[in-house]
Amino acid sequence: MSASRMILRETPEAAIGDPMSVVFFIPGPLRSFTNGSDRVVVEGSFSTMREALSALCASYPGLRHRILTDQGEVREHINLFIGNECVRFAQGLATPVFDGAEISVVPAITGGRRG
């Protein structure tokens, strides 16, 4: 599967199909949809940001339409970071994720609210 090969390229030590985990950092205004958690670990086998996000939203469905538009694209003023890299300037939701990735959901323009 090409997706798995992509993981291999990013994290050569990983074996194909290995379960992996990424951690999402949830901003304050969305924590009411994660039972108050500011940090959510998602485990599974996924190769792209879109798949990781999809796994996150399967557990916390309230997040989906607050992060993504009706067409499944990232909302205009929301940025997703893998580490310090904003996926908007990489391959968007097709950006590969790797085991242990730290993914931050960050409002691009802050509304003055904090969690």
Partner: protein
């Protein structure tokens, strides 16, 4: 002890054991309930306090009756054992629910307010806990805090200075746990009062925020030195500054510098909750979550009161008044920072529900509802109003909420940006796109106006359940006569200024149109240039703008009781969308648009460059009718005599997008929004014909 009786209580199990004695679960056969009994292992008379005094103190504590204090039912003695009978609390100690990194501000303030409220209750009755700590506070499964052992410290523990010193010497671990919460004055052996509880509560708040108590030491002496001399270590930066300040003030070494009353502390914690949206933690992830907005100003609406619902670009406000409508109380703001372009009151079927669309720049648009006048709002977990995948469209905003007729109380409609009509038949739980309009061959050629490509007007003909209108900017007027299956453009006679063809079939930039429920075949319309009337359900339109200073404007409104009486608020032009010549004037026609008169009494007539948006004007159902409008500068005006005289109701609101009048609770128990098919006169009633006479007189 198990199986034995103490007083009338049968001991059933041992719950806990400590230095001061054993706690049992027991059954009260008389009242048939579970209780807890604390049996003291040794005589509490080691100190200087007399037995009578201890009994007196415990009995005083048993007088406390507060939902967040574990109730003491009885104190007694049997065979030399001193025992305390109390409420059986099932829950976890607060100390166990504090995560290593602390708890969220929302959770902390939610519990903190309950503890502060309990402290205020007890202190007001002269009762001090003296041993408040996180292991002495329980959290029930329902999320309720219960403070244990209130007023029993001197009965159950020997925490005067001499005994502390002895205990430290003997390494008593139980007392060391207590030491971390002990105030400097307790360590110094000074007289103490209720402010020791404020200190201990400060330690608890610190612990809950940071995950650890503020003062530590390898030995009890080192700990006491830290409490007496060291400032608390800095809290993590993630703690809001306001909460940090509260904790620091509780932990002032000098009791005179702390909060002097627990009620002040409670108020300060409530202020921290302001604007914080706190969702109760629920186990099921699928159900819509109620959102509780705390520490806003909530209005308490009583039956037979007038309501104004105001949506602004930065939140919503609710206003209430007695039927006199002379003084308005302002509640809110709700949805801080979200734009509210549609808000409505749903009084069908005995409800009193508010519907509001909230648009966040960041997180998108959702439709929320409240059944308690804004105290709590239902926010759908997943957005039910959304465009089909593959359509290329995503919801930007909800511009209109229109209720179905009284005989379909579970049907609301929403008009959106991008232009589409959605309907629900289960009171807003699920929504579907009205495909007849969405699949209309004209849709690809509709073009957005300044506000977007929006469907902003939805009218249901009360005389024909299959007929409905939709207004689209810029698409024009559309009508269905078969309950939404097919739609026809109905724009004949409405001019377009932005294309070479002046009277196209569709594409008009319609701003708003209305009908009177008593004459639904006649429509009045404010266009992007042009004011029109149709006498034939929209088939043809006639220009009625003659006599107005400008035919550009946004809103149009009908008098609730007079189908010939129509209101508009003209602005100068497309380029300069402000009231002409800096004069704020509402224009009224009482002959269906043949002649117009300015209504300006009480409105600023100099330097008032105002704009009233398409849903910025509304009428109530009183007689004489109240007319209200809100401006882009955040001023809300009202008239109690259908526009003759105006009064400023409130100013300084964010830019007002929509205003809706409503009336809560008619005498027959029904509620009705201002857009009602059968106008009612719950206020003063005039003799029949007097309104007409008065009108003739004023001409």
């Amino acid at each position: 002890m198990i199986g034995k009786t103490l007083g009338r209580y049968t001991i059933t199990a041992e719950i806990g054991r400590g230095g001061m004695g054993v706690v049992y679960r027991a059954r009260d056969p008389l009242l048939n309930r579970e209780i807890a009994i604390k049996v003291l292992s040794e005589s509490p008379l080691a100190g200087t306090i007399s037995r009578d005094h201890l009994l007196h103190e415990a009995r005083a504590a048993s007088a406390l009756n507060h939902p967040n204090i574990c109730i003491i039912h009885e104190v007694g003695e049997q065979n030399g054992s001193f025992f305390i009978v109390m409420e059986f609390v099932e829950g976890k100690p607060f100390s166990e629910i504090i995560a290593p990194a602390g708890m969220s501000t929302e959770t902390l303030t939610r519990y903190g307010v309950q503890i502060a409220d309990a402290l205020a209750h007890a202190h007001d009755r002269g009762i001090v806990h003296r041993d408040l700590k996180s292991s002495n506070v329980a959290l029930t499964a329902e999320g309720r805090v219960k403070i244990l052992d209130f007023g029993l410290a001197r009965v159950t523990e020997k925490n005067d200075v001499n005994s502390i010193t002895q205990s430290i010497g003997s390494g008593s671990s139980g007392l060391t746990g207590t030491l971390a919460y002990m105030s400097p004055e307790q360590f110094r052996g000074e007289p103490t009062d209720h402010r020791v509880d404020i200190w201990a509560f400060g330690v608890m708040l610190y612990e809950a925020a940071a995950g650890n108590v503020p003062f530590h030491g390898p030995t009890p002496f080192a700990l006491s030195a830290a409490v007496l001399n060291d400032p608390p270590p800095p809290l993590p930066k993630s703690i809001p500054a306001g909460l940090t300040a509260i904790i620091q003030r509780c932990l002032a070494k000098d009791p005179a510098l702390r909060y002097q009353r627990a009620s002040e502390l409670r108020a300060a914690l409530e202020a921290i909750q302001s604007a914080a949206i706190v969702a109760p933690e629920t186990s099921g992830g699928q159900s819509p979550r109620p959102t509780v907005l705390r520490s806003l100003h909530h209005i308490r609406v009583k039956p037979r009161e007038a309501l104004l619902l105001v949506g602004t670009t930065k939140g919503a406000f609710l206003l209430r008044s007695s039927p006199s409508r002379s003084h308005w109380e302002v509640g809110g703001p709700y949805f801080h920072g979200d734009a509210v372009y549609a808000i409505t009151f749903d009084g069908r079927d005995g409800r009193h529900r508010l519907w509001a669309s909230t648009q966040s720049v960041l997180w998108g648009t959702v439709l929320r509802s409240s059944d308690d006048f804004g105290k709590t709002w239902r926010t759908p977990e997943e957005a039910p109003i959304r465009f089909p995948v593959g359509s290329g469209l995503s919801l930007k905003n909800i511009w209109q909420i229109t209720l179905g007729p009284d005989d379909r109380p579970d049907t609301p409609y929403c008009g959106t940006d991008p232009a589409a009509l959605f309907e629900s038949h289960d009171a807003g739980e699920s929504w579907s796109l009205v495909r007849g309009l969405f699949d209309h061959p004209h849709r690809p050629r509709w073009v957005p106006g300044n506000g977007g490509l929006i469907l902003h007007t939805i009218l249901l003909d009360p005389s024909n359940s299959s007929r409905m209108y939709a207004g689209i900017s810029a698409g024009g007027v559309y009508r269905t006569d078969d309950a939404g299956k097919t739609w026809q453009a109905r724009n004949k006679g409405i001019r377009v200024t932005f294309s070479p063809e002046k009277y196209p079939e569709f594409g008009q930039c319609v701003h708003k149109f209305v009908f009177h429920p008593a004459r639904p075949e006649r429509l009045f319309l404010q266009n992007h240039w042009g004011v029109y009337r149709s006498d034939n359900v929209g088939d043809t339109w006639e220009d009625i703008a003659h006599g107005l200073p400008s035919d550009f404007g946004f809103p149009v409104l009908l008098h609730p009781h007079d189908p010939d009486c129509v209101y508009v608020v003209p602005v100068e032009s497309d380029e300069f969308r402000c009231t002409p010549e800096g004069q704020l004037r509402v224009y009224r026609s009482r002959n269906a648009g043949r002649t117009w008169e300015p209504l300006s009494s009480g409105l600023p007539q100099r330097n008032a460059y105002e704009t009233v948006l398409r849903d910025g004007i509304t009428a109530d159902s009183f007689d004489p009718a109240g007319i209200y409008f809100g401006t882009r500068s955040g001023r809300l005006y009202g008239s109690r005599d259908a526009g003759k005289k105006w009064e400023l109701i409130v100013e300084g609101l964010p830019p007002i997008a929509c205003v809706k009048a409503a009336f809560y609770g008619l005498s027959d128990g029904q509620q009705r929004s201002s857009v009602c098919s059968r106008p009612r006169q719950p206020g003063r009633r005039k003799k029949p014909g007097s309104a007409r006479k008065a009108r003739r007189k004023s001409r």
